[in-house]
C-alpha cells in the first residue's frame, strides 16, 4: 500500500535534519570552525523561517495518515514549537562561541549534535502518535548525552553525562512501557484515537491497566522536565555540562518534555488519572525546587534548581485539569497556559544563561555565586540584562514577561477552580524571590577591588541582547505569545 506524503508539512523537519547532514559534510570538507558554526546557524535560521512559513500557510497539514488518524500534524502550534526550538538552537550556538574558540569542544561534532537535537525538537511538536512522539523526544535527547560529556578533561562533565544517560534511558523505558500498556488496552497509538477510546464514559477507564499505563507515560515524561521526585539528575548534569549545553538542557530539552506532556494530556489520556498525578508533581516540583535553590552556592546549580521549580509552575495548570469535577473544565485553556508559561520561561532562561556565559571567562564553568560579586558594576549592560532575567524568573516587574507568565498560570488555575493550587504557586513565588534577589544583590554589591573585565565575545553579546530584547518585547505585548499558543 502506498501512502501520499505531504512533503510541505515535513519541510521544517527536512530543513533541520538537512542542517545536521550539511554541518557534518562541511566539517569534513572545509574543517574550519567558523564555517561549520555559520552553517549550523544558517540552518537553524532557515528552519525557523520554514516552520513559520508552513505553519501559517493555512490549516494544519497532516501526513502519514491511516484509518486511526495522522502520525504527523503540522499546525500553527507545532510551528511555534518548531520555531522556538530552532531559535533556541541558534541562541545556544551563539553562546557556544567562546567554548568552541577555546578549543574545549570539537566544533564539527558539537554543531552536528546540536542540529540533530534540533531535528527532534522540530518534530516533537508535530508528533501525533505515541511512537512518533517518543522517537522525536529521543532524537532530541540522545545527542545531549554526548554534548554534556564534551568538556575535555573534566570529571564533572563525565559524571554529568553518565548520570543523565542512565536516568534518561530509564525514563524512556518507563514511557515506552506505559505506551505499550495503553496499546494493549486500546489497540491504538494515535493520540486522537486514544482520546476517543478513553473519553469520559469509556468502560476502558475502569481497566486498571489503563491507569497504570497512563501514570507510567506521565511519569516517564516527568523525568524529561525534571519534575520532583524525578529531578535528581538535573543539578549534577547542568553543573557538569558546558554552560551553553546546560542552557540548552534547561530550555530546549525541558520544552521538549513539556510539549510531549501537553500532547498526551490534552487529548488522549484520561484527565481523571493524569490530573492528580500532575498536581502532585507540580506542587512537589515547585516547592522542593525553590527550597533547595535557597541553599545553593554555585551559579549553575542555582539556575538548575530554579528551573526545576519553574517546571512546577508549568505543570500546575495541567494538574488543575481534573481535580475539579467532570465537565466545565477548560482543558484547552490550561494547556495553553502551560505552553505560554513555557515559552515565556525559555526566553528568560536563555537570557539568564547568556549573561552567565558573558560574565565568565571563555570556556569556564558557571563558578560560585560569589564570583559574580559586583559583576554588574564592571559590565553595566550584561549585569543589567542578568538582573532583568533573574527578576523575570522571579516574576516581578520590571521583568514583565515573567510577571505575565505567572499571571497566566494563576488565572488559568482560578478559572479551573483550583484555588489552593494557585495559592501554592503564589507562595512559591515568594520563596523564589528570596534567592533570585540574593543573586541580583550580589551582582550590584559594592566591591573594593576592581578586576579588569574581559569583554564578552560578540556572539554571546548578540545572543544575550536578542534574548533580552525578546523578553522585553513579550513583556509589553504578552498577547503575542498568548495568541501564538492558541493557534
Amino acid at each position: 500500500m502506498t501512502q501520499p506524503i505531504d512533503h510541505v508539512a515535513l519541510l521544517p523537519a527536512y530543513l533541520a535534519s538537512g542542517t545536521a547532514i550539511l554541518v557534518l559534510l562541511v566539517d569534513l570538507a572545509v574543517a574550519r570552525r567558523t564555517v561549520t558554526a555559520a552553517m549550523a546557524a544558517m540552518g537553524a535560521a532557515a528552519t525557523t523561517c520554514g516552520a513559520f512559513a508552513v505553519g501559517w500557510s493555512g490549516g494544519p497539514r497532516g501526513t502519514f495518515c491511516g484509518d486511526d488518524g495522522c502520525s504527523y500534524v503540522f499546525g500553527p502550534r507545532a510551528a511555534l514549537v518548531a520555531a522556538v526550538f530552532a531559535l533556541l538552537t541558534l541562541a545556544v550556538l551563539a553562546l557556544s562561541g567562546p567554548l568552541l574558540r577555546a578549543g574545549q569542544a570539537p566544533a564539527g561534532e558539537y554543531c552536528f549534535l546540536l542540529a540533530c537535537s534540533m531535528t527532534g525538537g522540530v518534530v516533537v511538536g508535530a508528533a501525533a502518535d505515541l511512537i512518533t512522539l517518543i522517537v522525536a523526544l529521543e532524537t532530541l535527547t540522545l545527542p545531549l548525552y554526548v554534548l554534556v560529556g564534551l568538556r575535555r578533561a573534566s570529571r564533572a562533565s563525565a559524571e554529568g553525562a553518565v548520570t543523565f544517560f542512565v536516568v534518561s534511558v530509564v525514563a524512556t523505558t518507563i514511557t515506552l512501557l506505559g505506551a505499550a500498556l495503553l496499546y494493549a488496552v486500546t489497540g491504538a497509538v494515535h493520540l486522537s484515537r486514544l482520546g476517543q477510546m478513553l473519553d469520559g464514559t469509556s468502560p476502558l477507564l475502569d481497566v486498571p491497566l489503563t491507569a497504570v499505563g497512563t501514570v507510567l507515560v506521565v511519569v516517564g515524561l516527568g523525568f524529561k522536565v525534571a519534575a520532583v521526585p524525578l529531578h535528581a539528575w538535573a543539578p549534577v548534569t547542568y553543573d557538569g555540562a558546558p554552560v551553553p549545553v546546560a542552557a540548552y538542557l534547561s530550555t530546549a530539552s525541558k520544552l521538549g518534555g513539556v510539549v510531549a506532556l501537553l500532547a498526551v494530556v490534552q487529548k488522549p489520556l484520561p484527565p481523571a488519572v493524569t490530573g492528580p498525578v500532575l498536581a502532585l508533581l507540580a506542587v512537589l516540583t515547585m516547592t522542593v525546587g525553590n527550597l533547595v535553590a535557597l541553599r545553593q552556592t554555585r551559579m549553575v546549580r542555582l539556575l538548575a534548581w530554579s528551573s526545576v521549580a519553574q517546571a512546577g509552575y508549568i505543570l500546575a495548570p495541567l494538574g488543575a485539569l481534573t481535580l475539579v469535577a467532570e465537565g466545565g473544565i477548560d482543558q484547552v485553556g490550561a494547556v495553553r497556559a502551560a505552553l505560554a508559561y513555557a515559552v515565556f520561561f525559555v526566553v528568560i532562561e536563555v537570557a539568564a544563561f547568556g549573561a552567565v556565559i558573558a560574565l565568565r571567562p571563555a570556556g569556564a564553568d558557571g563558578g560560585l555565586i560569589d564570583d559574580y560579586r559586583a559583576a554588574a558594576r564592571r559590565h553595566r549592560w550584561v549585569g543589567a540584562a542578568f538582573a532583568l532575567a533573574l527578576v523575570g524568573l522571579a516574576g516581578l516587574p520590571p521583568g514583565l514577561a515573567g510577571l505575565f507568565a505567572k499571571v497566566t498560570v494563576v488565572r488559568s488555575l482560578l478559572a479551573d477552580g483550583a484555588g489552593w493550587l494557585a495559592v501554592v504557586v503564589a507562595l512559591n513565588a515568594v520563596v523564589g524571590l528570596a534567592y533570585y534577589v540574593r543573586v541580583a544583590a550580589t551582582l550590584y554589591a559594592p566591591t573594593p577591588a576592581t578586576r579588569p573585565a574581559p569583554r564578552p565575545s560578540w556572539t554571546v553579546a548578540a545572543a544575550l541582547a536578542g534574548a533580552t530584547a525578546v523578553a522585553v518585547l513579550v513583556g509589553f505585548a504578552p498577547q503575542v505569545v498568548l495568541d501564538a499558543v492558541a493557534g
Binding site: 516581578l396 514583565l400 499571571v407 484555588g419 503564589a426 498577547q479
Partner: protein
C-alpha cells in the same frame, strides 16, 4: 484624546521618561533632569483637577445600562492591552484617588529635589532619582488604575525599586531590612494576585467600575476574595499583626526612602482596601468588618505602647505609622461615609506629617550622627529652627485640632461610635485612649529631643537650615496647616465619590 486623558498619561509617562533619561546623563545633570520630570508630573497631577471634566462625575456607560455606576471618574482612558489576561490599560481619576495622586507627585518631587542637594551614602544620586521616579510610576499607576489586573501590575512595580533604595542607600542593617521588606510585601502581592483572579474568574470582567458594589458575585466568592485582598492590603498598610516589616524598613531606609515609604507607599494598602477590597466584595467586607476594626484598634494601642518604649528617633516615627494607619483602617472598617472620609483625610494627613517627620529625623541624624533619644537632647538650644519644626510636626502628628492630623483620628472615632452597638462603641473608646497615648509618646519625644541641656552630640549641630531643606519642607508645613484649618480641601474633593460608593454598598 481629551485634555484630561493627556494629563492622565503624562502623570505616568513623565516619571517613566525621567527614569530613562537619568540613565543617559552624567550624575548632576541627571539629578536635575529627574527632578524636572518629577516637577512636570506634579504639574500634570494638578492639571487633572484644572482641566474641564465633569467633576460631579461622568457615569461610565456599562454594557448593562441599568447598572448604577459606582465610580464616576473625572477623566478616564480605556485601551486594550492583553485581552488574553483580561488586562486593559484603563486609567481614571476621581475624588477618592485624586488627593493621593497629588500627594504622591508632590512627595516624589520634594524627595528628588532633596536628593539634588544631598545624596545619601551608598550609591550614585542618579540611580536613586531614577528609582524614586520608577516608584512614583508604580504608586500613581496603582491609584489611577480602574482595571483590577492593571492595579495588580502597578502594585508590583513598586516592590523591587523600593528594595533597591533600601538595600543600596540604607543604614547599617540595610540588607536584612530590605530583604524583609521585599519578601513580606511580595507575600501580600501574591495574595492580591490570587484575590484579583478569584474575582475576575467569577465575574468575567476586571473593570473596577463594573465590579464595584459586588457585581452579583456569589457570597462565598466575596468572602474568599475579601479575605485574600484584605490580607494583601493589610500587609502593605500595614495592619497589626502583619506590620513587622515596617519598623526595620523605615528605620534603615535613607531619608527620601522613608518619606516615600511612609508618605505614600503605605497608602497603596489603604486605598486598595477602599477601592478594591470593600468596593468589589462588600458582603465580605461587612462580614469581616468587626475583625478588621478590632485589629485596627489593636494596632493603635500596640503602636502607641511600643512608641512609648522606643529610644531611637526613626524607629519611633516608624512605629507611630502603625498607630496612625490603625486609625485609617478603623475608619474603613466602619464602612460608613464618615469613616471612609476619615480614612481618606487621615491618609493625606499622615502622608504630609510623617513625610515631614522623616525629613526632620533624617536631618537630625545627619547632623548629630546619632538617632538615639538618650544621646539627643537640647535641640532647642543648638538649632531652634529644627527643634521648632520637629515640635510642629510632632504636635500635628498627635492630632492637635487645627492641624492636619486631627480630622482623620477624630472622625474615625466618631464613625466607630456612630455605628453603635457595644463592639463599635468600645472600639471607638479604646481608639480614643490610643489617641491620648499618641499624644503621650510625642510629648515624650519632644521632651527628650528638644528640651533640656544640649547633649554633646547635639551641641556641635549648626543652627542654620540649608535652602534645599527649607524648600523641601515648607510645602509640607504649609499643607499640614491648610488641611488642618480647611479640611474641606480634601473632603470636598472626595465627598461625591464617597457618596457614590456608599450608594452601591449593601
Amino acid at each position: 484624546m481629551t485634555g484630561g486623558q493627556v494629563w492622565l498619561v503624562a502623570a505616568l509617562a513623565m516619571p517613566a521618561l525621567g527614569a530613562a533619561v537619568t540613565a543617559a546623563l552624567p550624575d548632576r545633570a541627571a539629578r536635575l533632569a529627574g527632578t524636572g520630570f518629577a516637577a512636570v508630573a506634579f504639574l500634570a497631577s494638578l492639571a487633572l483637577y484644572l482641566v474641564t471634566g465633569d467633576r460631579a462625575g461622568v457615569p461610565i456607560v456599562t454594557e448593562a445600562d441599568e447598572v448604577v455606576p459606582a465610580i464616576r471618574p473625572w477623566h478616564q482612558l480605556d485601551l486594550p492591552w492583553v485581552p488574553g489576561l483580561d488586562l486593559r490599560f484603563h486609567l481614571g481619576v476621581d475624588g477618592i484617588s485624586y488627593p493621593l495622586v497629588v500627594l504622591t507627585a508632590l512627595l516624589t518631587l520634594l524627595c528628588c529635589g532633596y536628593t539634588v542637594w544631598k545624596v545619601p551614602e551608598g550609591g550614585s544620586g542618579r540611580a536613586l532619582i531614577a528609582l524614586l521616579l520608577v516608584i512614583e510610576v508604580g504608586i500613581l499607576g496603582t491609584f489611577l488604575a480602574l482595571d483590577l489586573v492593571l492595579f495588580f501590575v502597578f502594585f508590583e512595580v513598586v516592590l523591587l525599586p523600593m528594595y533597591a533604595v533600601i538595600a543600596g542607600w540604607g543604614g547599617d542593617d540595610r540588607r536584612h531590612a530590605a530583604r524583609k521588606f521585599v519578601l513580606y510585601t511580595l507575600f501580600g502581592s501574591v495574595l492580591l494576585l490570587v484575590g484579583v483572579f478569584t474575582v475576575v474568574a467569577s465575574a468575567g470582567t476586571a473593570d473596577i467600575a463594573q465590579l464595584t458594589g459586588g457585581a452579583d458575585l456569589p457570597r462565598t466568592t466575596q468572602l474568599v476574595a475579601f479575605i485574600l485582598l484584605a490580607l494583601a492590603f493589610a500587609v502593605k498598610s500595614p495592619l497589626w499583626p502583619l506590620h513587622s516589616w515596617l519598623p526595620d524598613a523605615h528605620t534603615q531606609a535613607p531619608t527620601v526612602g522613608s518619606v516615600i515609604l511612609a508618605g505614600v507607599l503605605l497608602k497603596m494598602g489603604t486605598y486598595g482596601l477602599i477601592r478594591v477590597a470593600v468596593g468589589v466584595a462588600p458582603e465580605g467586607a461587612q462580614w469581616a468588618a468587626p475583625v478588621l476594626g478590632a485589629l485596627a484598634v489593636a494596632a493603635i494601642i500596640v503602636g502607641s505602647l511600643v512608641c512609648l518604649a522606643q529610644d531611637e528617633l526613626k524607629r519611633l516615627i516608624a512605629y507611630s505609622s502603625v498607630g496612625h494607619m490603625g486609625f485609617v483602617l478603623l475608619g474603613i472598617a466602619t464602612l460608613t461615609a464618615t469613616g471612609i472620609q476619615a480614612a481618606l483625610i487621615g491618609n493625606i494627613a499622615h502622608g504630609l506629617i510623617t513625610g515631614l517627620l522623616f525629613f526632620l529625623a533624617g536631618a537630625i541624624k545627619d547632623r548629630a550622627h546619632t538617632g538615639r533619644l538618650a544621646e539627643l537632647g537640647g535641640m532647642r538650644e543648638a538649632s531652634p529652627r529644627l527643634a521648632g519644626l520637629l515640635g510642629f510636626a510632632a504636635i500635628a502628628s498627635l492630632g492637635l485640632p487645627g492641624l492636619a492630623g486631627f480630622w482623620g483620628e477624630a472622625f474615625a472615632v466618631i464613625a466607630a461610635v456612630e455605628v453603635g452597638g457595644p463592639l463599635w462603641t468600645t472600639l471607638g473608646a479604646v481608639a480614643a485612649i490610643g489617641a491620648a497615648l499618641t499624644a503621650a509618646y510625642f510629648l515624650r519625644l519632644l521632651r527628650r529631643v528638644t528640651h533640656g541641656p544640649a547633649s554633646p552630640a547635639v551641641a556641635t549641630v549648626r543652627p542654620g537650615l540649608a535652602t534645599a531643606e527649607v524648600t523641601a519642607w515648607a510645602p509640607l508645613v504649609v499643607l499640614a496647616l491648610v488641611v488642618g484649618l480647611l479640611p474641606a480641601v480634601v473632603l470636598g474633593l472626595s465627598d461625591p465619590s464617597v457618596t457614590t460608593l456608599m450608594d452601591v454598598l449593601p
